[in-house]
């Protein structure tokens, strides 16, 4: 039994030195620092798991895991360590149930990542939530994880903000540094956000790190050129939280209602535009009642119409412009179409041919 101990203890001990012990949930650190490695056992002895519980742990872990041979002792040790970190039995079962998609992490890895997350000042609940939100975090090496967190810190996400971002968007921890860097570069170089603004964007809408760069840039360009939103306003209005369809829907809806105008180059409009944060930062209901003053039905119909319009526009740009004939069938509006006289007479001739054929079968005229 003593033989298998060190590898469980190892991360725990290393944790000791780093743990700032800011939250009470980190019992592990406090007990361990007080009594040394021996103290662990005394605590573990108090909460000795009964066999039933161990079976449950085993069941929950075996469901997904391909490693069939986890020794009882190992499992025990792991469970104890989790206990010490402040997890309840139930939470440990939940924790064991979390499995990344392809590979199963070893118990050691699991323990290391969890302790790393706790070190970030996340509470037990939040840690569990983060892991549930993105099980792939369990696959990340401890060192890489530290590295990534450090990188996020360097981008300006200080204590408090960092925790919020991670619990809001847990998948951020699975992103390689390079891709985060690339997105930040895009925001800085192509969209001309300042470093401070980038930090704020990352804080408010960390999800953009997962977006395809072209889409992100298009979203910004739509807002900047089509709507006339400046960078600062884009940050404040939580613009990036919306999808591009949502942005377009709301913008064009307002524009056609006559409640939004793109400012000219001097920033002037004929009407008073609503604030962007009231347009994009609110739910659909509030947007409809407070800003657009329209019914939900109208908005639903409008969304469908706009989607169809855009799809057709794309078709047209692809170069399939064969619907001129159908368009002529739709004509009822009183447009003054000046056909040349030759064209009409020619058509009449062809039509009269039709009529000749009609005369041959006069019985079928009346339906």
């Amino acid at each position: 039994m003593r033989l298998v101990l060190p590898y469980i203890l190892q991360p725990a001990v290393s944790l000791l030195r780093l743990c700032p012990r800011r939250h009470a949930a980190c019992k592990f650190g406090s007990t361990a620092s007080a009594e040394g490695p021996e103290g662990l056992f005394s605590v573990a002895g108090n909460v000795r798991p009964d066999w039933k519980l161990q079976d449950q742990f085993r069941l929950s872990i075996a469901k997904h895991s391909r490693q069939t041979s986890i020794k009882d002792a190992e499992l025990d040790k792991a469970a104890e360590s989790f206990h010490e970190m402040g997890f309840t039995n139930n939470q440990i079962i939940q924790l064991f149930k979390i499995q990344p998609v392809s590979s199963a992490p070893t118990l050691q890895q699991r323990l290391a990542i969890v302790s790393e997350l706790l070190l970030l000042n996340l509470s037990v609940d939040k840690t569990l939530k983060v892991l549930k939100g993105s099980p792939d975090v369990l696959k990340v090496m401890t060192k890489t994880l530290k590295d990534r967190v450090e990188h996020l810190r360097r981008l300006g996400l200080g204590e408090g903000n960092l925790q919020k971002v991670i619990s809001q968007c847990p998948t951020i921890l699975t992103l390689p540094r390079k891709s985060v860097d690339a997105t930040v570069r895009l925001l800085k170089m192509r969209c001309l956000f300042s470093a401070q603004q980038v930090t704020e964007i990352l804080f408010t809408t960390p999800n953009i790190l997962h977006e395809v760069h072209q889409d992100l840039e298009f979203k910004f360009q739509y807002a900047y050129f089509r709507m006339g939103i400046k960078q600062q306003e884009a940050v404040k209005s939580r613009l990036f939280r919306n999808t591009i369809t949502e942005i377009k829907n709301r913008h064009i809806f307002l524009e056609r209602l006559g409640k939004y105008q793109t400012p000219d180059k001097k920033g002037q409009t004929l009407i008073c535009n609503p604030k962007f944060k009231h347009v994009f930062g609110v739910s659909e209901d509030i947007f409809l009642t407070k800003i657009a003053h329209a019914s939900a039905e109208e908005y639903q119909v409008f969304k469908m119409l706009l989607a169809r319009e855009e799809a057709e526009e794309e078709d047209n740009t692809e170069g399939t412009s064969g619907d001129e004939e159908t368009a002529s069938d739709y004509e009822e509006s009183d447009e003054e179409e000046e056909d040349n006289a030759e064209g009409t007479s020619g058509d009449e001739e062809t039509d009269s041919d039709y009529d000749d054929s009609d005369d041959e079968t006069p019985e079928r005229v009346e339906p």
Binding site: G258, E298, R308, T344, D358, T361, P367
Partner: protein, 416 residues
């Protein structure tokens, strides 16, 4: 000589697509090109005028006008209809005229039974509809009498033999373009459903002499022909190209017997000079040229809001007035005239009608009465949104869920 020959040989061959140098010109762009497109001018104009006229309702009309229009499929009774109707019903389209008749019949039955019926109507814009509502007060005899009267008015409205399919409110499906049947006639005609209302308001009786003063492009004329009630129909339009189009429409929808000169005449003259045969028609449809609000907002070509057409646009109400007067003079005493536009503007709608009544009384000694069409609102409120602020006539407003119109129509009866 030889040199000339050489030059002639060296001259590049001129193909059908090649333009001669003398036809090439450099496009001017600096001063003469319009800075603001006509559609934008139109929008600005509407924003200014209609926001005053409609108030809070203008934004919803505006978005309707700027979004895609809805169509209805007018079934061609002269073609083989069964298959088309089947297809349309599969698409969940409904014959709105038939539906409204069923509903009003059901209403009558309820009234006849004397029970207080449930009010099933809701979500409509009109307020004046109250008089049509079937909630009969228990003690108010007068109200009951008035109510039965309106119901009678409804039932006296003679439903013509027109089948016209539309999608219900909120449904944005489209109709397929019309196809030829085995006789070479098109199965249905796609048009704005609101354009049918003036035709229905005309209420043509069998054996009537009918005049359509501004007929092209032919939707309303076709609807008139589909009724098969006119003894003789005269369709007139000013421009040759437009009557040509009318010809084509009619030829591809109507059998030749009905297009014979005995029953249909297509003329091409100025409607204002329709003095040749005064007081001869039972029904006259005056569908005047107007600012065509929807069209001017979407199409740059031939836009009436073009700078060069300002004079023409400003003189439109005058033209409309003259046309309406001509139409009223062409009608028999006791004959009906329906005036319609596809504009929202008061200047082109109510004012023209009121002014025409005035002018006729003063200058021609002809008395004209404006008929009440408010029962139309009750009948078709499930399909259209009506405006309740018209002094005379009815106005269909565009709305996203039922994007028909705009269409104004007003019925006038010549008394003397």
């Amino acid at each position: 000589m030889a040199l000339a020959l050489l030059l002639w040989l060296r001259r590049p061959r001129v193909g059908p697509l090649r333009t001669f140098r003398r036809f090439l010109y450099k496009k001017k762009w600096a001063t003469t090109l319009p800075r603001i497109p006509c559609t934008k001018l139109a929008l600005r104009n509407f924003d200014m005028n209609y926001s005053l006229q409609f108030g809070d309702r203008w934004p919803s009309i505006r978005i309707g006008l700027l979004s895609e229009q809805k169509y209805c499929a007018l079934i061609n009774n002269f073609a083989q209809t069964e298959k088309v109707i089947q297809e349309l019903e599969l698409l969940n389209a409904k014959d709105f005229i038939y539906e409204s008749r069923q509903r009003s019949l059901a209403l009558e039955l309820v009234i006849a039974a004397g029970s207080s019926p449930k009010d099933e109507r809701s979500g409509c814009l009109d307020v004046q509809d109250e008089e049509l509502r079937p909630d009969v007060p228990i003690d108010g005899d007068g109200a009951r009498a008035e109510h039965t009267q309106t119901v009678l008015l409804q039932s006296s409205f003679n439903y013509p033999r027109i089948k016209c399919y539309t999608f219900s409110k909120g449904d944005i499906s489209r109709f397929s373009p019309a196809r030829l049947d085995s006789m070479g006639r098109l199965s249905h005609y796609l048009m704005d459903a609101a354009s049918l209302l003036p035709v229905l308001a005309l209420d043509v009786q069998p054996g009537d002499e009918v005049l359509d003063l501004c007929a092209a492009p032919g939707g309303k004329t076709l609807a008139l022909l589909q009724m098969e009630r006119c003894r003789h129909l005269t369709a007139n339009d000013l421009s040759t190209s437009r009557t040509g189009r009318l010809h084509r429409v009619i030829q591809s929808y109507v059998p030749r017997e009905l297009c014979a000169p005995g029953s249909l005449r297509i003329t091409c003259c100025d409607g204002r000079d329709w003095a040749e045969e005064e007081s001869t028609y039972d029904k006259v449809l005056v569908d005047v040229p107007c600012t065509t609000d929807r069209h001017s907002l979407l199409e740059e070509e031939n836009n009436i809001f073009h700078k060069m057409r300002t004079k023409e646009r400003q003189s439109l109400p005058m033209l409309q007035l003259e046309l309406l007067i001509a139409g009223l003079l062409a009608a028999k005493p006791t004959g009906d005239v329906v005036y319609s536009t596809c504009s929202l503007s008061q200047l082109q709608n109510e004012y023209v009608v009121e002014r025409a009544v005035e002018v006729l009384a003063v200058e021609y000694g002809v008395n004209v009465r404006i008929e009440d069409l408010s029962f139309f609102r009750g009948l078709f409120q499930d399909t259209f949104y009506f405006f309740d602020g018209c002094r005379v006539g009815e106005l269909v407003l565009p709305h996203l869920t039922a994007n028909f119109g705009p269409m104004y129509f007003c019925k006038l009866r010549r008394i003397t």
